[in-house]
């Protein structure tokens, strides 16, 4: 599922579609002129308006009715190759075509809205049940451990264990709440991408620093030739994307395995890969892993299956793509491709005369 509604992307494409439909109808009419009678052409144009109304929306439907009426009149209504109308009957035809266009497109709109509403209701349902479960689970552990400490006397090792549980579960809740907020902001389109020119290795370095503890039992290798190259991205969002990919690797791959971060960037864009040696990705799962609340089969119960959905949303608000493929020799490879954003800025060079300035 895409994050931003793309149903109403009618725009100029819709209108272009409507006009092409009318052109095709006219060509069809011209080709069958020998067989069909004038009123039959009318029906052909009505079909074009119907198709526009159902698939392209109201604006394109009205456009196809208008252009269709003109084409019908010009090519088929006697006197042909003029816009004159000999018979009053055709005025009625024109009015009817507009009417059909309006009526059918508003019906189609309503049906689409209902479908969208049903979809978002279903989503809200999944979200609520998933969130309440994911929030209650750590909360239950915290409540249990804290009340045990308050109401019972326990020995020192048990006390330590309970305290650890409280800390771990609180951390888990914090991560979940953070993810939910990120997801909500990204999905609502509320996030403004604040692009800045950032060296590639600074992005990777910041993300690795934040996931250091999580990946302490993995071998992490970086391959960043030309790491100081500048790329135009929102540094906060991109770091989040990387952190989510690294967290995903940490959670779904066994300790001791290798995680490779490759990155190459420049004015042409950014090509970044996080590759692991985990269980890999089952065929057919390549898209599903990016769905909200999807959990990999071997998930450890951490997180709510939002990390990869957030990562992809961040790639999309940058105009890029994030995909996963199975790796030769086992494991999964997540690859981010971002388009370039023009020439990178320059920094005036300084005379390298050794330390000089004062602080």
């Amino acid at each position: 599922m895409t994050l931003r509604g793309d149903r109403r992307r009618a725009g100029w494409r819709g209108y272009a579609g409507a006009v092409s439909l009318v052109v095709a109808t006219t060509a069809l009419g011209a080709a069958t002129r020998a067989v069909l009678d004038v009123p039959d052409f009318e029906m052909l144009y009505v079909v074009a308006v119907l198709v526009s109304a159902v698939f392209l929306g109201r604006g394109p439907a009205i456009a196809s009715a208008a252009v269709g009426v003109l084409a019908y009149d010009y090519f088929f209504v006697p006197p042909t190759f003029t816009l004159d109308v000999a018979d009053l009957r055709y005025l009625f035809t024109f009015a009817m075509m507009f009417g059909i266009g309006l009526l059918v497109s508003s019906l189609a709109d309503r049906a689409r809205d209902a479908a969208v509403r049903a979809e978002s209701e279903a989503l809200r349902g999944t979200l609520l049940s998933s969130v309440s479960h994911d929030l209650r689970t750590p909360l239950a552990a915290i409540t249990g451990a804290a009340t045990t400490l308050r109401d019972q006397s326990v020995d020192e090792p048990t006390r330590r264990e309970l305290v650890e549980a409280i800390c771990d579960e609180a951390e888990r809740m914090e991560r979940l709440v953070g993810n939910l907020l990120d997801m909500t902001r990204l999905a609502s389109g509320e996030v403004a991408v604040r692009r800045e020119w950032v060296p590639v290795d600074e992005l990777v370095g910041a993300a690795l620093a934040r996931t250091e503890a999580l990946l302490s039992r993995h071998r992490v290798r970086t391959e960043i030739p030309g790491g100081a190259a500048l790329v135009s991205v929102d540094p906060v969002l991109l770091e989040q994307l990387l952190v989510n990919l690294l967290e995903n690797a940490a959670r779904h791959t066994p300790p001791g395995t290798e995680v490779v971060v490759r990155a190459a960037g420049g004015p042409g864009g950014l090509d970044l890969e996080v590759a692991d040696r985990g269980p890999g990705i089952a065929p057919g799962e390549e898209e599903r892993v990016f769905e909200r609340f999807h959990r990999g089969g071997r998930a450890t119960g951490q997180g709510a299956g939002l990390g990869l959905a957030i990562a992809r949303a961040i790639a999309e608000v940058h105009g890029g793509t994030l995909r996963v493929t199975a790796r030769d020799g086992g494991g999964a490879s997540f690859r981010l491709l971002l388009p370039g954003a023009g020439r990178s800025p320059t920094v005036p060079s300084e005379d390298d005369a050794g330390p000089g300035g004062s602080v």
Binding site: C167, A170, E174, E196, W197, V198, P199, D201, E202, V204, G205, A206, L208, A209, T222, I224, G227, A228, L230, P235, V236, E239, P345, V347, E350, D351, D352, A353, G354, P355, G356, G357, S358, V359
Partner: protein, 233 residues
């Protein structure tokens, strides 16, 4: 760990947070004063001369940043903002308003105490006559002789790199925002932009870090600025 008797003023309207802060600061030997409004906080700061202030931003009678601005008119007491507003813009706003550090809620005691120690040490270093030697972890800078070394190995720096590194080292452990760095290194009227800072940081990392993509000394706070690691990690 701390110098006993350091006085910390906690300005926070949430009773459970005050309870937790009182307990953990007290256990560490700090004396604690509490306030829960901007007005009370300003009054306490003026009357008690705390050694550090822990400040929540969402207070019943106003924004905690107003308190920072008012206190900054007459005091350099270190202020650590503790807030549930975790967005980068908000951190930058707090630091640029004069706060010394920013700790997003929720946070652990360890992190809080570490930040508090750094803040207290800085304010003492500022109060005492400056030493010409700056040292942080493996880094050593001799300001008089203009020499820098990392793990004992001399490093050659350009003038801008020197100014940038000296600024970060002078505030080791503390986040400096892009705007603060630009102002201090390139001057208040320079038309420098934030990518200047990033490019020079990348150069410094090449010279000072074993692996520039996994920095140990020159740390990035994404969307906020940079922090020079206070101790070897």
């Amino acid at each position: 760990m701390s110098d006993a008797k350091d006085l910390v003023l906690v300005v926070e309207d949430e009773p459970q947070m005050r309870r937790f802060l009182r307990a953990s600061l007290g256990a560490e030997g700090y004396r604690v004063r509490e306030a829960w409004t901007v007005a009370d906080g300003v009054r306490e700061a003026a009357a008690e001369h705390p050694d550090a202030i822990l400040l929540d931003l969402g207070l019943p009678d106003g924004d905690g940043l107003d308190l920072v601005r008012r206190i900054r008119e007459w005091s350099a007491v270190p202020v650590i903002v503790v807030s549930a507003r975790g967005r980068e813009e908000e951190k930058v706003a707090a630091l640029d308003a004069g706060a010394d550090d920013y700790l997003p809620k929720p946070f652990g005691t360890k992190e809080l105490l570490a930040r508090l120690r750094v803040a207290l040490r800085h304010s003492r270093a500022l109060a005492s006559p400056g030493s010409p030697i700056l040292a942080a972890g493996p880094l050593r800078m001799d300001l008089e002789r203009r020499e820098a070394s990392i793990d004992g190995r001399a490093v050659h720096l350009t003038p801008i790199e020197w100014r940038l590194l000296a600024l970060l080292a002078a505030h080791a452990g503390k986040v400096l925002t892009h705007a603060q760095i630009l102002r201090e290194v390139w001057g208040p009227n320079a038309s420098a932009q934030s990518h200047y800072v990033r490019v020079y940081m990348a150069e410094l990392r090449k010279k000072l870090e074993v692996d520039p993509s996994r920095p140990r000394l020159l740390l990035t706070e994404p969307g906020v600025g940079y922090r020079l690691a206070d101790a070897p990690r």
